[in-house]
């Protein structure tokens, strides 16, 4: 086979072209990183404090944990890291392609469109407009806006690639392409929902399927939003900062293909021991363990790039940040596969261990890499040295100590929670009430928030340092560059070279990446949609009543799922504490599923009928009155706000569209049933000397909570497996 590849350098006699890199868009994204970083981390700190001082909500719905937490996660993921991705991509892509971005107008639309989504997203989340799916909480109008802006970004990205003057597509760009195509796929598939009103929709999927799609998305949001684009940035900015090429380019190619393929399969490790079919769980575990190989390949490639340059690391804050970022990447990607082993997951899941793990990645990998890139980029954009290297060094140490202070107490808390949950007395009784396991870890929560505050104070230092740098420099809006246009000259290297089919062609790369990532998704998702036996039905499980549906919407709005799971795993302690373990067939009408991923409070899957209505009433009014020492906030507004029964019709119709078997014409009579059920609950409250007005949200929420886990108790034998001896210990 004739080996050849097209020249990428100016051939003899070829004319170079003069052009300008667009630094303005990079500047705007850099500003956005700083602003949203502070907003997102402040929201995080607020949420962290709310866990031991719930009164921090000031009695307002918007500032309770259940609403601040999604604001925090969305802000740090999509606003801080998102803008960080775009800042890095818009800078590096132009240089790697030796071309200005495809369209300045698209760049502007991309920037302002993304900021508008973030701002609207934050406001709507504070208002409680949420789809109730973790990391995908934004409601349907914003989902559409995200898709539009993402396409604008894609056109700009591929347009630039098509007009590039550098024939080879450097590996960083491969990561950008995979990011773009996979995020598009994940976002679209997971956001399929049925709008009910302007700011309310129901997930198209239900129960187990919704959970699988959500965690296929959730895990890969980590993979393709927090990891692959940042790996692309690492492959560009680390060589730049160290002034030496990446250690092994061959390794980077293997890293890329192995990583994007394997990552996409690992989602089910978020659902181990749940009602998800076993085969899907096993698949998730196997691929999660395999993931360690490409992840560490990438990490070592990064660290080895600094071989012989460690003296520079001592001097240069940028490199310090990058080294710790890459090390944290290595730690998190070692821990991830370990956590996905079923025996480890049995301990870690639903505890603060997960939060600690996530923050090693978020604070260390994403945060520090972003800071490193900012410290490197700003002096170049403003053509002046950094205002103070010493201050940057201080930021580095404050940040590092912040990460340690944040993570260590949470690892401790997580392990403690699990051990306490699973602890039995010699006579076979649960040793601890759930509340005892909460109050026990409060000192760890306090220390964690101090760690977070330290980390955030480092960010303020950075912003000050960058501001001073900007003030003494002159911004280079259009940076002049020169390069020869691509020629068709062919040069041979004497060895077979048949990879050119895709290596230099962005569109082919896009298609290949899509095939590779779609494979995992299809295999995971299709069988649960096709094979009925994967979700055995339980005849006694019935659709929610109209009042319960309203209550469920309130449950979702207040973010209850962020602290309470609805998933009893088949463990002795869980069955003893909560009741019979959860079955896939119980969730067939749950649009969206509400399994949760963290138990700051106890599981609620079997809470229905466990307490009288008045207990819930008092508990939601003042949690400490029923559970002294509780860290749950008071939900006083539920006692004033009224449900909007005008929407009942639309809600039932939407559920019918989604396949929930309400009888034909039921939507018209739904409000009649709603009133009847409401009156029953109000009467029961009245019997306990509690008077409530009509249509109050609290009554709807009580109706929903009292329904949870009830249907299965009347299930015919054979449709649910026996819960084993443990169930008798607790009963309901």
């Amino acid at each position: 086979m004739q080996s050849a590849h097209l020249l990428s350098r100016p051939s003899a006699g070829s004319q170079t072209e003069k052009f300008y890199y667009d630094n303005k868009t990079v500047k705007w994204f850099a500003y956005a990183v700083c602003v949203w970083g502070i907003v997102g981390m402040l929201a995080g700190l607020w949420a962290a404090i709310a866990l031991y001082y719930p009164q921090i909500n000031l009695g307002l719905p918007a500032t309770t944990f259940g609403r601040m937490r999604p604001v925090h996660t969305n802000a740090v993921i999509f606003a801080f890291v998102g803008n960080g991705i775009f800042m890095g991509v818009y800078y590096s892509l132009q240089r790697l392609c030796k071309a200005r971005m495809f369209s300045d107008t698209l760049s502007k639309l991309h920037f302002w469109g993304w900021q508008a989504i973030i701002l609207t997203g934050a406001i709507t989340l504070w208002m409680g407009k949420t789809s109730g799916k973790e990391y995908a909480e934004l409601e349907w109008p914003l989902d559409i806006a995200i898709a539009v802006v993402w396409i604008i970004f894609g056109i700009n990205l591929f347009g630039t690639l098509l007009k590039r003057r550098e024939k080879h597509i450097y590996v960083a760009i491969w990561f950008y392409i995979a990011t773009w195509v996979t995020v598009a796929m994940l976002h679209i598939v997971n956001s399929i929902e049925l709008p009910v009103t302007l700011w309310k929709s129901y997930s198209w999927y239900a129960g187990v399927q919704d959970a699988l799609v959500q965690w296929w998305y959730g895990h890969n949001a980590v993979a393709f939003f927090l990891t692959t684009p940042y790996l692309g940035l690492m492959y560009y900015f680390l060589p730049k900062a160290a002034n030496r090429p990446i250690y092994s380019y061959r390794l980077s190619i293997i890293h890329f293909w192995a990583l994007i393929f394997i990552y996409i399969w690992a989602g089910p490790h978020h659902l181990l021991y749940t009602a998800l079919p076993d085969w899907a769980q096993s698949l998730g575990v196997v691929f999660s363990v395999m993931l360690i190989a490409p992840s560490w390949g990438g990490m070592l490639n990064g660290l080895f790039t600094l071989r012989g340059a460690w003296d520079k690391v001592k001097e240069e804050p940028v490199l310090k940040f990058l080294v710790v970022a890459i090390t944290c990447y290595g730690m998190a990607t070692f821990e991830g596969p370990m956590l996905s082993l079923k025996n480890v997951n049995a301990i870690s899941h639903f505890t603060d261990w997960t939060i600690a793990h996530v923050h090693i990645g978020a604070l260390g990998w994403n945060g520090f890499l972003t800071f490193g890139v900012l410290y490197w980029l700003v002096p170049r954009l403003w053509n002046t040295p950094l205002y103070s290297k010493k201050l940057a060094g201080t930021h580095f140490w404050i940040g590092t100590v912040g990460i340690v202070l944040y993570a260590v107490p949470l690892y401790w808390a997580g392990f403690t929670q699990s051990m306490m949950w699973k602890s039995f007395t010699e006579s076979g009784q649960l040793r601890f009430q759930f509340l005892e396991t909460v109050t026990h870890v409060i000192p760890m929560y306090i220390t964690r928030s101090i760690g977070g505050a330290l980390y955030l104070s480092g960010v303020f230092l950075m912003v000050y340092n960058l501001r001073k740098t900007i003030l003494k420099g002159t911004f280079v809006a259009d940076e002049a560059a020169e390069a020869a246009p691509l020629t068709q000259a062919v040069v041979t290297h004497g060895k077979p070279y048949w990879h050119r089919v895709i290596e230099r062609r962005p569109m082919q790369m896009l298609v290949m990446s899509l095939i590779v990532v779609a494979i995992g998704g299809l295999i995971e998702l299709i069988p649960t949609f096709l094979v009925k036996s994967n979700i055995p039905t339980i005849s006694s499980v019935k659709p929610y009543t109209p009042l319960e549906l309203h209550g469920r919407d309130i449950y979702v709005r207040e973010g209850c799922y962020l602290c309470h799971s609805q998933m009893v795993r088949p463990f002795r302690d869980e069955v003893a504490r909560y009741g019979e373990y959860s079955k896939a067939g119980e969730f067939v009408y749950d649009h969206p599923f509400q399994w949760g991923s963290k138990r700051t409070g106890p599981d609620l899957a079997r809470v229905g009928g466990k307490y009288p209505d008045s207990w819930h009433y008092n508990h939601l009014l003042d949690p400490t009155s029923m559970s002294p020492g509780s860290i749950m906030p008071s939900y006083v507004w539920l006692f004033d706000h009224e449900i909007d029964t005008v929407h009942t019709y639309k809600m039932i119709r939407a559920m019918q569209t989604l396949g929930v078997p309400y009888p034909d014409g039921y939507a018209q009579q739904a409000n009649g049933d709603l009133v009847a059920q409401e009156q029953r609950i109000r009467a029961s409250l009245k019997a306990d000397k509690i008077g409530t007005g009509p249509n109050k949200e609290i009554v709807a929420l009580i109706a929903y909570l009292q329904r949870l886990g009830k249907d299965i108790r009347t299930a015919p034998k054979g449709q649910t497996a026996s819960a084993g001896d443990g169930s008798a210990l607790m009963g309901n």
Binding site: S3, H5, S8, S92, R95, L96, E166, H168, Y170, V171, A172, W204, Y205, A206, Q209, Y235, Y236, P239, K240, N243, R244, P245, I246, Y249, R250, L251, I253, I254, W257, A258, F261, H493, G494, K495, P496, Y497, W498, H499, M512, I515, V516, I519, G520, L522, I523, I526, P527, F529, L530, V531, K532, I535, V588, T657, L658, G659
Partner: protein
């Protein structure tokens, strides 16, 4: 419209798995072979792109 189970009668779902694994394995092997065999000079040229 009921989204779930609507093409449940399709038999041999396992073929998805097989085809996919074969596809992945092929792509991965091709890439592995290429990265091992690729010309050193060219690789070196590419890895220096960020430094230009």
């Amino acid at each position: 419209m009921k989204f779930i189970h609507y093409i449940e009668k399709i038999s041999g779902v396992s073929i998805y798995g097989l085809v996919s694994l074969v596809l992945f394995a092929s792509i991965f092997l091709v890439m592995l072979l290429w990265s091992v065999k690729a010309d050193g000079k060219m690789i070196d040229e590419i890895r220096r792109i960020p430094l230009e």
